[in-house]
């Protein structure tokens, strides 16, 4: 007996949503990222203005001084939507877990030079409060930002910051032989130690910025651009001379994250600066203000960690950041 398998083709009447097709200029299959971000936010027919801020609509492009013709130009080069974001971060987290296991299994913390260990506990663990501030700032960008392409990426960034605060908490506990005092000391340093106060003040000042795009520049370009490379690279390099391999292993997540997140930050800044000379001037001004705050805040920390070399180390990080910002179209 002969069996003939017939196949019949059904052609979908639409390949994607109409609003996405309008974006693409034709009805063709769109990526999940495009479908998950384009033109999703409500833009009109709002009922009430929020009671807590009646000068703006609930979604209002005027919440920032930056002016964009198309707010959906703020694409994320990593194309993060729920699935891609989680797959990516799960892999990074698995690597971090492995590093923690190795550090604990081989008891690498015991090998760190005692004086340097005290310094690590002082310079690294209080950053969990910095990350929490960054989390709030990311939530603010997501909350008041305009256009799903920027707000969805910001909420993912917020989750990253909380994750890094948790990693720092774990590091704090491990460095203190699982004694909670490791965290209490760090909190006290953040609140009272003289070398932490300029940074705490800078972070607290970013929390009350009104303009969400300024919040973004202050946190992601200026503060992160100085603090992250200084702590996770410069301080870390110095630590390797003091047998602090354990610290490098446990904080590798932050280094990977910075490299990954930087692609998003750079894309946003480039698009915004290219849009108009007025935007470029505006965000350049914000960048200069907050970069100077970040540098001022980093110097005492660098000096208490690296001694006399601290100032030079901050200058180097600052020069690298200025070069990056100039490459993005800002005047530094």
């Amino acid at each position: 007996m002969n069996i003939e398998i017939k196949s019949e083709e059904y052609i979908p009447r639409r390949q994607t949503y109409s609003h996405v097709a309008r974006r693409l200029g034709e009805d063709r299959p769109a990526s999940r990222y495009d479908e998950g971000t384009y033109d999703l936010q409500a833009t009109k027919h709002f009922h009430y203005r929020p009671l807590w801020g009646p000068q703006f609509e609930i979604f209002d492009p005027a919440r920032t001084a930056v002016v964009m013709d198309d707010w959906y130009a703020f694409g994320d080069p990593r194309q993060f939507y729920y699935a891609t974001y989680n797959i990516n971060r799960a892999a990074m987290n698995a690597a971090a877990e492995r590093a923690f296991e190795m550090v604990e299994g081989r008891n690498l913390v015991a090998r760190i030079d005692a004086d340097w260990l005290a310094k690590v506990r002082h310079y690294l663990v209080p950053l969990r409060h910095y990350e929490w501030g960054a989390d709030l700032n990311s939530l603010r960008v997501s909350d008041f930002g305009y256009g799903t392409r920027v707000t969805s990426a910001a909420i993912f960034a917020a989750a990253d910051r909380l994750g890094m605060a948790q990693l720092l908490t774990r590091i704090g506990l491990i460095l203190a032989e699982m004694d909670e005092a490791g965290l209490d000391d760090a909190k006290q340093a953040w609140m009272e130690a003289a070398d932490w106060q300029p940074l705490r003040q800078a972070v607290e000042d970013t929390l009350v910025i009104d303009d969400w795009y300024e919040t973004f520049i202050a946190q992601y370009l200026a503060l992160d651009g100085i603090i992250h490379p200084l702590v996770y690279q410069t301080f870390d390099d110095a630590g390797l001379e003091q047998s602090a391999l354990a610290v490098s292993l446990m904080s590798e997540f932050m280094v990977d994250w910075m490299a990954d997140n930087r692609r998003w930050v750079d894309a946003l800044v480039t698009v915004c600066a290219k849009e108009s000379a007025a935007n470029a001037e505006l965000i350049s001004g914000w960048y200069r203000t907050w970069r100077d705050r970040a540098v001022t805040a980093a110097i005492p920390l660098a000096e208490s960690t690296l001694g006399a070399d601290g100032g030079a180390a901050v200058d180097k990080v600052r020069a690298a950041l200025d070069e990056r910002a100039a490459g993005l179209g800002l005047t530094v």
Binding site: E9, P29, S31, P77, Q79, N88
Partner: protein, 90 residues
């Protein structure tokens, strides 16, 4: 001289779509045929799947090994390294 054609057939999935786009962009001589659930690409002599082109479309590093998750069949001799997956006749 008649150039012997090579071809690659991929599943018609979300994962394969950027690969198909990259192949068509990098191989101007390629022709595409859509079938239910699969897409066949033919070209005279050579098809190159360039890793950088796919990477650019999906926004993350793409390893040519990932191609095999979407491939249904191939026609041609394979020459593969980290940057490009190439079909041709030796």
């Amino acid at each position: 001289m008649n150039i012997q054609p090579v071809s690659i057939t991929l599943q018609n999935t979300e994962d394969a779509r950027p690969i198909i786009e990259a192949i068509l962009a990098d191989n101007p001589a390629a022709t595409v045929s859509h079938y239910p659930a699969m897409v066949k690409i033919d070209a005279p002599g050579r098809i190159a799947v360039v890793a950088d082109s796919v990477t650019e479309r999906i926004g993350r590093d793409w390893d040519p090994q990932e191609l095999h998750l979407s491939v249904i069949t191939l026609n041609g001799n394979i020459n593969e390294d980290d940057d490009v997956f190439e079909l041709s006749w030796n």
